[in-house]
Subunit: 340 residues, 2 copies
Amino acid sequence: MTAAQTAIALALASAAPAAEPDKKAPVGVPRVVLAIHGGLGMAKEDLTPELEKQIRAKLAETLEAGRGALAKPGATSLDAVEHAIRMLEDSPLFNAGKGAVFTHEGRNELDASIMEGKTKRAGAVAGVTIVKNPISAARAVMERSQHVMLIGRGAEVFATKQGLEIVDPSYFWTLPRWEQIQNSWKEDKTGQVSPLRTLGEHDWGTVGAVAVDADGNLAAGTSTGGMNNKQFGRVGDSPIIGAGTYADNAGCAVSCTGHGEYFIRFAVSHEINSLVKYQGLKVEQAADRVVNETLKQAGGEGAVIALDAQGNYSDAYNSDGLYRGYITADGKPTVLLHER
Amino acid sequence: MTAAQTAIALALASAAPAAEPDKKAPVGVPRVVLAIHGGLGMAKEDLTPELEKQIRAKLAETLEAGRGALAKPGATSLDAVEHAIRMLEDSPLFNAGKGAVFTHEGRNELDASIMEGKTKRAGAVAGVTIVKNPISAARAVMERSQHVMLIGRGAEVFATKQGLEIVDPSYFWTLPRWEQIQNSWKEDKTGQVSPLRTLGEHDWGTVGAVAVDADGNLAAGTSTGGMNNKQFGRVGDSPIIGAGTYADNAGCAVSCTGHGEYFIRFAVSHEINSLVKYQGLKVEQAADRVVNETLKQAGGEGAVIALDAQGNYSDAYNSDGLYRGYITADGKPTVLLHER
């Protein structure tokens, strides 16, 4: 436990009992400083041992590196979130940055958003095709523009002017995703679902991160290639503040993945924050209620990771699995795929 | 005090103290069925008598027509919201559809969203340049696509395929807005604020509507040209479900206008809904708290209109004024600009 976390725990412990439920973990329980997800992933039976090994290793490496970014002097939760998401974007294992799915028109269109819990500053980009790390473009929008959200060519021109790394759209191309879209095209033509399709990854498989720094400030971020075979111009929840991403020091930091349309309609990340702030739920209760009651009843498949300023972490998913992991200030990373 | 305000005051005075506040107005009090706004508008001293007359007449006409749309057999609150917003989009008096402001690049880029409180279905478009009525495109996305949000060219191709009315971008051009952007360009070059600028309308001046139908179902919608001189690709709160627009029968229907970046960061429409649902606030309390406390403290200028399923209506603004109006099932329309 860091000095600041100890201070928070002491402050909480000395607070008089109140009607508001107790949100802290028992004293001595290690608090999570960073959690990440890599989407719902593929069905357990389709995951080869080799691929599983690669995914687990990349998630663990990302958690270690993200914690390292957080430990640097002056570093914030925002730095850890950006660092972790950049690593997942750069890995072809996930549907964000390199390795993104293709639109119905055979292009990669990327969305991302980031938010800071103390100031509630936020930034987002949608429909970008040439920015290597959309999460960094989202952060640049937050920190270096007067706007919160930039889309399409406007976002690309901004990212270019800001000196972010620009790539040819072909950078995002990967063989498995190309086979996946070709397969979808075949299905669209014949109306028959190909057996190959079940071997492909989930149509949705966003990446995201939530973190808390030594000052007790939260941050959250999300990045995605969207849905395989999506109509061009379609935007899911990932770049929508309040849907795919939200952070509020008085509530929690949330990053979502899943069938984005449902996450927008139920403003999932902000809803979880509201349940924590206004209903006094713990993050695990709030995450569970929204994912396993609200979304499930509506037919919305998906998952969330959530973290409060005291380091209480929870994930919830109503799907087969969720590629995810978390790390404390001094422990080993914990990585989970299909196991609860 | 207007009749509706008196009714609300009476309802407040007669309410018995309880843990769960009674959200119903007393029997016999006329309930609002439709409310609309036309943005923050220009400063009172800049509004000529002739222009004021035109704006009041258009708002009254829209309220009457919207109520008419609601009274048709089988019509829903969604029909009333779409009908009202189409009329405001078609009028050059407001910053939506014809009469939209220009981007820094001299184009009109339009955003809109719509939502149904019973099912929480929603639709949105952003950055469209050739769709005559963006609110109808948003509704088409909701009802005839698998998606919630389409942006840019993708949204335009979809609207075209759906048979919506497509116009040349020059359709949206109006002289006052063109003078406004030319003025901004001059200011950008010289760094001097022109005296003409103070004569121009507010940079933000979105339109929106909230309605409740005979079945007690809520709907909300918002449409805008965004901010004058905005960077191309910038998206404000209007097309963001949870920011500019939200509708939930268990809470309320909300449409926002103002400095959109703040409305996204504080997820204003969903926040008001959360305060009604989870804190038991009345719509007027929730709207007031978010607009006059949360947003004001953060420096976010703007306004909201909110309506619950019992017909309790409220507007709140922290600006000079708000072009707005409401109507009951059988009364005359009430139109307000700068008067509280």
